[in-house]
Every structure is written in C-alpha cells, then in structure tokens.
Amino acid sequence: MRLDLAEFPVSRIVLGNKFQYQSGTLEVDAETLARDLLKDPRIREAKVAVAYPGEKVRITGIRDVVEPRVKTQGSGQVFPGVLGPVAPVGEGTTHRLSGMAVVATAEFEGAVRAGTGVQRSAVLDMWGAGAEISRYGSLVNLVLILRLAGGLPDLEAHLAVQKAELHAARRLAEVTLGKEPQKVETYDLARKNRDLPTVVLIQGCLTESHQFHSGVAYYGLSIRDSLATFAHPNELLDGAVTVNTTRGIGYFPNTWDWQNHALAMELYRRHGKELNFAGVALERVRFETYHGKEVTAHNAAHLAKTLGADGAVVTWLGSGNAFVDVMLTLRACEQRGIKTVLVTYEYGGKDGVDSPLLYYVPEAQAVVSTGSRDRWVELPAPEKVIGPYEEIRVLNYPGAPLTPASGPLTFDARDMVIGGVDNWGRQSWTCRAY
C-alpha cells in the first residue's frame, strides 16, 4: 500500500467569490460554501471566518479541527464511511492543504450534561499563552460558525457538524486538482530494511461504548467493546479515523490529529533508516473490569508480536482508568520480549508536585512525558471573538455560570483549550529540573 501525499501549503486565506489556490493563497467562496452547508436542514445558520496566528482572536464553541484533503488517485475517497461509502483507502495520491485547518464551531446544547461525555468550554486563542499551548494556534484557521436546529438529538448534531466540516475540508482541497504540489512525500510500509528492528505503534483509544459516538470511529463505525485491531498508517492519512464532534475536550485528539498523527508520521520518517515501521494497533482501552483490562492488554501485545514487533511505541488518548489498560499493555508487551516506550501527558496538579500518573507497572521503564495537563493558564482578553458563543462555561457541571468570552479567562487545566493537551508529542516542549 503506497500513498503519495502531495503538499500545497497555505499561508493566507481570502474570503472571495471563487474557490482557487495560488502560491500559498487560498481563496474561498464563503457564500457558496455557507449555502452548501445550509442544504442540511439540521443546520440553521452557517458563517465563515478566518483566524491567523498572532491575531488577538479567541475562537469559541469548537467541536473539531480537520485538515483539507482530497484523493486524486487510488480507490475510495477521504473520510471513507463518513462522507462516502466504505471503500479501502491509503493507496494512490492524496492532496493536502498544509499549514491550515478547518475549525468547526457550533452552537448546540447536548443532552449529556455531566461526566466525560459532556461538552467543554472548547476555546482556542490565536495569540499569547493560549496559542502557545495549542498545536492549532500556529495554523491559519478557516472557522465554520454553525448554529444547529433546535431539539436535535446528540447523534444528529454530531452527524450534522461532521458532515459540514468534512464536506468543507474536501471542497477546499479540490482547489488543488490539476495543480503542481510544492512537495510530494511517499508513504509505503513495504520498503523494509531487514537488518533493522520492527516497531509497532500501539494506540490506546479510550472509547465510551455507552455514548452515541464512542469517541473514535474507524471508517465511520464507533469502536466500542472491541479488542485490538490493525490499522495501516496510510488509512489515518486518508481520514479513516474520525471523532465525536460534539464535545470539544482538550485531551481528546481531533480529526486533524489522526490525519497528522505525530508518532505515526515520525515512525514513518525513520522507516527503513532506523527501524521498520509495521503499522498501528488500535487498542480499545477503558474496560470496566480489571479482567477486561488484562485481556485487552494481552490481545494488543499479541497483535504487536504477530506483526513481528521488536519494539512498541505505546500511547493513548483519554483520561482516568483507561490508563490502567495502557500500563498493563506495556507489561504484556515486555513479557513477550517487545521493548516498549510510553508516550503520555502527565497530571501532577497545578504545582507539579502531585502524582503524575494514575498507575504504573515496574515494566514501564521508558516513558516520554508530553507535558502536564494540570497547569493553570491565564488567557488575556482578546480583541475579537469568533464563534457561536459570546459567553462560555469555564466549568461544565449542570448550571455552571457563564463567563464573557471577550474577557480574560483563568483555566485550572489545559484540557479546557482545544489542542491544550499534547497527547502524541507534536509540540517542542522541553523540561527543566529544579
């Protein structure tokens, strides 16, 4: 399975009256795009705005972030099973608009009012401390501002937002059809060097089997009480993994992150040079019994062994007890002679002196921290607010007070910023010991 990813960098977005791309400038026919989105009766209002890095802009009501892509050769189309039929992807040629993202924002009050499924403040600042902690703060963002029809069930709201953002993302990428890319990168697992060790990426996925969308979907199908399954990294590049688009929680990756999976991309960069990348094991975590956690751990390790792994990069998404499954996975791999490294964010409390991890096993000897999720962040007042909400809930319990989005904000955890938790080590954090 060989995929050529053709890159068309975007440094400027102009809202004009046609769709076109020329030397880094993307022109978007905002009126036509909004009209297209309004064909869905579940969407009653659609607007488009642009936010640049460095602007004193705060975006509110964010539900997902996605990179514009379109397939020009090979079977299937981007976002299979969501935008189009379930057809195999990962082969041929895919065009991408790099350096930019479509940020889907929507006004919608979900039926889930508490717990991990509840929607969050979901803001992104394009300047200052907020931009610095989020991987999306350095992108040129095309913001879709949606208002949904009243009384929509959560699943319908999710489907409406997701269809809108993915349609927009594909439509934008279509401006590159027939154009010469700035760069083409080839992704092919088959080109191996037999003298190098084989490495598998084990991606722990907290999924909530009881929710209308579990949080991680493969070809549009929510992963629920599944055991580990194999995914080709090229499938990620073509948008085969998608997310719940109603919550906006900073410690869950967005669609953009699956398309640009930092660890999968880095393993690919070293493929055939330092190691042989053997693919991705999607491992469902957050089983509700210890027995379940042990079984999923052994099953994921078994899959890695079957793929010929000498080593495994283990990472996860989510929070809470799902981390036990992740630690048991490290142990199960080491017991099979697979060397492991864990990539995870840590807790540690606001001063960094609390326990950084919920649970550990002695086999977890190599751990890479992607930073603390618990540090406070002070966000100064913006000059402009983009998005469906002028007021936001900083805390998400039922009846929590509203705070003006146009004022300064204090967050006691980074997961309140979209992209605020660096799940897979995309950002260049450094660490200092005192």
Partner: protein, 72 residues
Amino acid sequence: MAIISAMYPIAEQVGASRIVKAVSIPHPCGDPSLPSEVDARLRREIVETALKAIHAEVKQPTLFYPNISATV
C-alpha cells in the same frame, strides 16, 4: 477500614490496607446484568467479605476475594 474497589491494583499501589475485589467500575457492589436474586446474593457476599476484611489483622495491603462463583 476496607475499600471495595474494581481497580484493586491501584488501591494496592497507594497502600490501602484492606482491599475487597469489586465487580466493575460502574457497579462495584453488584452486577445488574444478573437476575435480581443472583445479584442480591452477590451483593451480600461482597458486603460480608468487606465486613470480614475490617476485622482482619493486616500488616500490608491485603486483597480479599468475595466468593463470587458460590453466588451464581
């Protein structure tokens, strides 16, 4: 004191003295998927195990297992 926990290895790791193995995270003291009379026996067994645990002399984190098979 005793703790009834489905995540008993975590309780062990933080040094809880008496730990009773629970059924699952959302339902530590029972299993609503069982017929109600079986669930009632299970719930009773877990609570009785916890009461026994409280009386036991322990020197380190100690696990107590409810006899779950006896209730089915």
